[in-house]
């Protein structure tokens, strides 16, 4: 498999009135060509910030990439000037935002909004751009696109708008598409349609997708690989099978236990008690320690290293340490 995007030890901070918030604290992951990588975690864990960092869309000030690399086609996006980044944004890497109701400009027609991206990146005439826009609208399943081109966003339903937003992201045939909670604002039935669309598009165009979500149901449907984030760090990565059937990190287990499942009988929903740590002053050890039922003294003091568990399966947890396994064996 070909690596298309590499994120290495990414650190992002925000300066606020209350002090500096370390929103992303050393995130690393790879994205392979043609796959869907899901980044999962509860709100505030830094998954959106990670996505926006790749696009160079962290508002600066107050936000800043303080350390780390984002490697794409031989260049480090984290170090690029905005001018050079602009050539990549929308053309090679594109992004879909959460709420289709607010992601489109209410005073411009759909056609204008679809075409301006193409015109920005490609030397192409207006009529050709329009042809391409129509093609994209057909691809994302919008009926009678010719008449729809001249309409404004408020004339579309929520699901249709999200299709438009997806068309916007695809219009320049990017290699990577980042989708930030693309189904959260939609009805469940529409959600399913949009997820189908994602799979369909990936088959047709071979685009790699980074899917940011807190919804494990969505992840189960479309993700090839999963990265679980907690308090600004990736705590576990693995294939969909790894994460759903052999979760290793107590947080991943907690997440899975807090979601209703039909495949398990008499499965009780167990919420994770407590709330994530304050990222104004992140703890030196494992951030999950206060909510972890297996917490050890070491977890408070030192952050665990990444440990390989399976072929694609990695986890950052002291429970993987030999000494912890010995201790647990003794206890039993």
């Amino acid at each position: 498999m070909v690596k298309i995007l590499e994120v290495k030890e990414l650190h992002v901070s925000f300066t606020t009135f209350g002090g500096e918030v370390h929103a992303v604290r050393g995130v690393s992951f790879d994205l392979y060509k043609g796959e869907t990588l899901a980044i999962v975690g509860e709100s505030g864990c830094g998954k959106s910030v990670t996505a926006k960092s790749i696009m160079g869309l962290i508002p600066n000030p107050p936000g800043k990439i303080t350390d780390g690399k984002i490697l794409f086609k031989g260049s480090n996006l984290a170090a690029l000037k905005d001018k050079d980044l602009r050539k990549i944004r929308g053309a090679d890497i594109s992004m879909i935002f959460q709420d289709p109701m607010t992601a489109l400009n209410p005073t411009l027609t759909i056609g204008t909004q679809l075409m301006e991206g193409i015109i920005q990146h490609q030397k192409i005439s207006r009529s050709e751009a329009q042809k391409k826009a129509l093609e994209m609208m057909r691809l994302v399943g919008i009926p009678s696109p010719e008449s729809r081109l001249k309409q404004y966003p408020h004339q579309f339903s929520g699901g249709m708008r999200q299709r438009i937003v997806i068309a916007l992201a695809l219009v320049c045939e990017p290699e990577v598409m980042i989708a930030d909670e693309p189904t959260t604002a939609l009805d469940v039935t529409i959600q399913a349609q949009i997820l189908d669309l994602f799979r369909d598009i990936q088959k047709k165009t071979g685009v790699s997708i980074i899917l940011i979500t807190h919804d494990l149901g969505v992840v189960a449907q479309v993700a090839d690989r999963i990265a679980v984030m907690y308090a600004g760090k990736v705590v576990e990565t693995g294939t969909r099978r790894d994460i759903f059937y052999k979760p290793q990190h107590p947080y991943t287990k907690g997440l899975l236990n807090s979601v209703p499942r039909l495949d398990l009988e008499n499965a009780e929903l167990i919420p994770i008690a407590g709330s994530p740590p304050d990222l104004f002053a992140p703890p030196p050890g494992c951030p999950f320690v206060a909510r972890c039922q297996y917490a050890m003294e070491v977890c408070d003091k030192v952050y665990p290293q990444k440990t390989k568990y399976g072929k694609e399966h990695h986890v950052n947890c002291w429970l993987q340490d030999e000494r912890a396994k010995q201790m647990l064996a003794l206890q039993r």
Partner: protein
């Protein structure tokens, strides 16, 4: 849209009728007004008045006749200047006032929007602080105070520009400046805050994610949305400028409608007061109406919302 326009148009007519009626009965209650017995005017003027206002007939008839003449845009004779009618006065003074008002409004809009946009783009920067300082001062210093200060400094102490009358562009600079500062400040503040809000909207992020240049994002995506709230205040700003012309024309001795209006107030020239009030009210209410229509045209959501509602 049409349904909405008709509704607004009817509301406009009611407001106008209210103003005409209000002025009529207020003038009736006044000692020394043309409708009252105790007036002290010359023979010639009195005959003019009686003829125009049908003073020999009962009050309801007077009211109806008055309404009729107002609809025909006939405001009757002046009390103080026996040979003149209010219409002649309007015809002479209004073009001057209109020029002053239009130039002022243009200056205020252009400079206000520029200042507001610059301030928003350089949020919390030096330009922002400077623009907002100008804006706060512009709102705080009354136009007549600013006008007199300008005369004292620019015209008297430095002798840069002429003080009075209305002849060349040099005469226009100070009055326009005095009158435009307030509305400019309001527009600048409004543009800034609405621009700041628009810049945090998701669709701006979408535009950035497309790789558009900052200039395109601001001009194409942000500005139009940010100016929508500015359009809504244009009506009341025009009203402010219009009433502002009263004092500015008095201070700079500009022979416009505002000056005649102030003179008529001081001379208790009631037909002129009535006529000018009604004329100005009509103008302003019509302006408010135009602003509403313009807003409907600029924001596609409004227009089509109405269509769907039908």
């Amino acid at each position: 849209m049409t349904k909405y326009l008709v509704k607004r148009f009817i509301a406009m007519l009611i407001t106008l009728w209210l103003i005409i009626t209000l002025t009529f009965f207020l003038m009736h209650a006044l000692p020394g007004s043309p409708f009252n017995e105790e007036r002290s005017t010359s023979e010639a003027v009195q005959r003019n008045l009686e003829a125009h206002f049908n003073l020999d007939k009962p009050v309801p008839v007077q009211y109806i006749e008055y309404l009729k003449s107002v609809i025909q845009f006939d405001f009757g004779p002046s009390i103080k200047k026996s040979s003149q009618t209010v219409n002649e006065l309007l015809g002479r003074g209004f073009p001057v006032s209109f020029e002053l008002g239009l130039v002022t409004l243009t200056v205020a809009i252009l400079s206000g929007i520029t200042l507001g946009v610059l301030a928003a783009l350089r949020h919390n920067g030096i330009i922002d602080y400077m623009a907002m300082t100008i804006a706060v001062l512009g709102i705080s210093i009354p136009n007549f105070v600013f006008a007199t200060l300008l005369i004292q400094q620019v015209a008297v102490n430095w002798e840069l520009l002429p003080v009075a009358t209305w002849k060349s562009w040099r005469h226009m600079v100070l009055p326009t400046l005095a009158l435009a500062t307030g509305p400019m400040a309001i527009i600048a503040r409004l543009t800034r805050s609405s621009m700041l809000e628009v810049l945090t909207q998701d669709y701006i992020l979408t535009a950035k994610a497309k790789g558009l240049t900052p200039a395109k994002i601001v001009l194409k995506h942000a500005l139009k949305n940010a100016l929508l709230p500015v359009v809504t205040v244009l009506g009341s700003l025009a009203a402010g400028i219009l009433t502002g012309t009263f004092v500015i024309e008095k201070i700079f001795a500009i022979p416009g409608m505002g000056k005649y209006f102030v003179d008529s107030i001081n001379n208790r020239d009631y037909p002129v007061i009535m006529g000018t009030t009604i004329f100005y009210s009509t103008l302003l209410i019509f302006l408010l109406f135009l602003v509403d229509v313009a807003y409907g045209l600029l924001d596609p959501r409004i227009k089509l919302h109405r269509k769907e509602a039908k």
